[in-house]
């Protein structure tokens, strides 16, 4: 018990969230917004940015308070902080992007229960400095945004034949309604995870690694 595992530094926190520990494709957490609001690209990007903003604010506050957290009351502090920032983001969306706010509906307040945010508070922000917590929020939030955007891109293109609301396929091109529906979210997510895993396997195999 003499060696305490070294926690990753700012640089590693920033990069690992994008691919190696991507919240959606690797950790498979935060599935509710991933499946519910990625039928179009604008909705997916707004949700990704809103979540990143909340994560950033929550990580900063949690990291600043980390020396005063009582072990049995820490979850209460996380929840208070997260709920406050989600409400602020919700009001900001309603004030400045009313159309998007209506489209996302209950999924904005539901960011409160996105376990990506509370898991970063627990895994990183409550143990490390503000700088590392900010890097972690940008890494994990960026990875979340990237994953949601790629789902939104595929689903909007296949389901509605458009990108960012602009039709961009020839008229004779078929659109597959199912990609706009919840079933399409599962299909797209499953396919993307499978493709990424296959790519990682082939890469480690070509390097001669025995373990994955």
């Amino acid at each position: 018990m003499s060696t305490v595992p070294q926690l990753p530094g700012a640089g590693e926190r920033l990069t690992q969230g994008w691919f190696a520990e991507n919240a959606i494709f690797v950790q498979l957490i935060g599935m509710c917004p991933t499946l519910a609001v990625t039928s179009t690209l604008p909705a997916a990007v707004t949700m990704g940015l809103a979540t990143t903003l909340v994560l950033l604010a929550s990580n900063i506050v949690t990291s600043l308070l980390r020396h005063h957290l009582q072990p049995h009351l820490r979850i209460l502090v996380y929840t208070l902080t997260i709920a406050t920032f989600v409400t602020i983001v919700d009001r900001l969306l309603a004030a400045f992007l009313p159309g998007m706010s209506r489209q996302l509906g209950p999924y904005v307040p539901l960011i409160i229960v996105n376990c990506l945010i509370i898991s970063r508070a627990e895994a990183c922000a409550s143990r490390q400095s503000v700088l590392i917590a900010i890097a972690d929020a940008l890494g994990q939030g960026g990875g979340f945004l990237l994953a949601l955007s790629s789902l939104g891109l595929v689903r909007e293109l296949l389901g509605f034949g458009s990108l960012w609301g602009v039709r961009c396929v020839p008229d004779e091109w078929p659109t597959f309604l199912i990609f706009g529906l919840p079933a399409g979210a599962f299909l797209t997510l499953g396919t993307l995870v499978a493709v990424l895993n296959a790519w990682k396997l082939s890469r480690s195999a070509s390097r001669g690694d025995n373990h994955v």
């Binding site: 409400t87 309603a94 009313p98 209506r102 309604l177 529906l181």
Partner: protein, 203 residues
């Protein structure tokens, strides 16, 4: 007694302080944005009202038959029509529809969907003109009904206006039709009376 209180405060000062601080932050955000959000909702509703009543330039919320309806006036201040909100249960959630009526309340001048969470690509096609425009120009005292197979057919004793449901979205279509019927039968005569009385009082 004091010892208990001391332990309690030592354990929870952070939670209590944070709750106070964050509540203050929320109150500040609400105070800063409340008017803007309310303005936006009002503006959006007004724009929608003017869409369903052609020729209008201003919309005023008034109370008719204990309901809020929108009185639409043209640039000269004359009554050009009414808009009423109808509400029904759709496939996913409630659907709120705004119905425009002529000044005498006898003709539907337009219909638009205010709020709905119907299935994208299926039920949400009730928002498209192909469905909505079927109501435009129809008499408000003749009930609407689903046209085609399985739908109600007009008879001499009970004439109806047929509306073609959106393919694959019968429930959403029927929700709109029923909401409109219900609201029109409730408010039509009151609006007509109101229109006549306001004509008499205007010089």
């Amino acid at each position: 007694m004091f010892a208990v209180l001391k332990t309690f405060v030592r354990q929870t000062w952070l939670v209590l302080g944070l709750a106070c601080g964050l509540s203050a932050a929320l109150a500040a955000v609400d105070a800063a944005l409340r008017d803007r959000i309310a303005d936006q909702a009002r503006h959006r509703l007004e724009q929608t009202v003017l869409q369903v009543v052609p020729g209008g330039t201003t919309a005023l919320a008034v109370t008719v038959a204990e309901q809020t309806v929108y009185r639409v006036e043209d640039a000269a201040g004359d009554l050009s029509g009414w808009a009423v909100v109808a509400e029904g249960r759709g496939f996913q959630d409630r659907i709120r529809v705004l119905v425009g009526l002529s000044a005498d309340g006898r003709t539907v001048t337009g219909l638009t969907i205010l709020d709905s969470s119907e299935t994208p690509g299926l039920g949400d096609r009730i928002q498209q003109p192909a469905f909505r425009d079927q109501f435009t120009g129809q008499p408000s005292d003749r009930p609407f009904a689903r046209a085609g197979s399985g739908g109600a057919t007009a008879s001499a004793t009970h004439p109806v206006t047929g509306i073609h449901a959106v393919t694959g979205a019968t429930i959403s279509s029927l929700a709109v039709i029923n909401a409109v019927n219900e609201q029109l039968s409730r408010i039509r005569d009151d609006l007509s009376r109101h229109a006549i009385s306001s004509e008499k009082t205007s010089p």
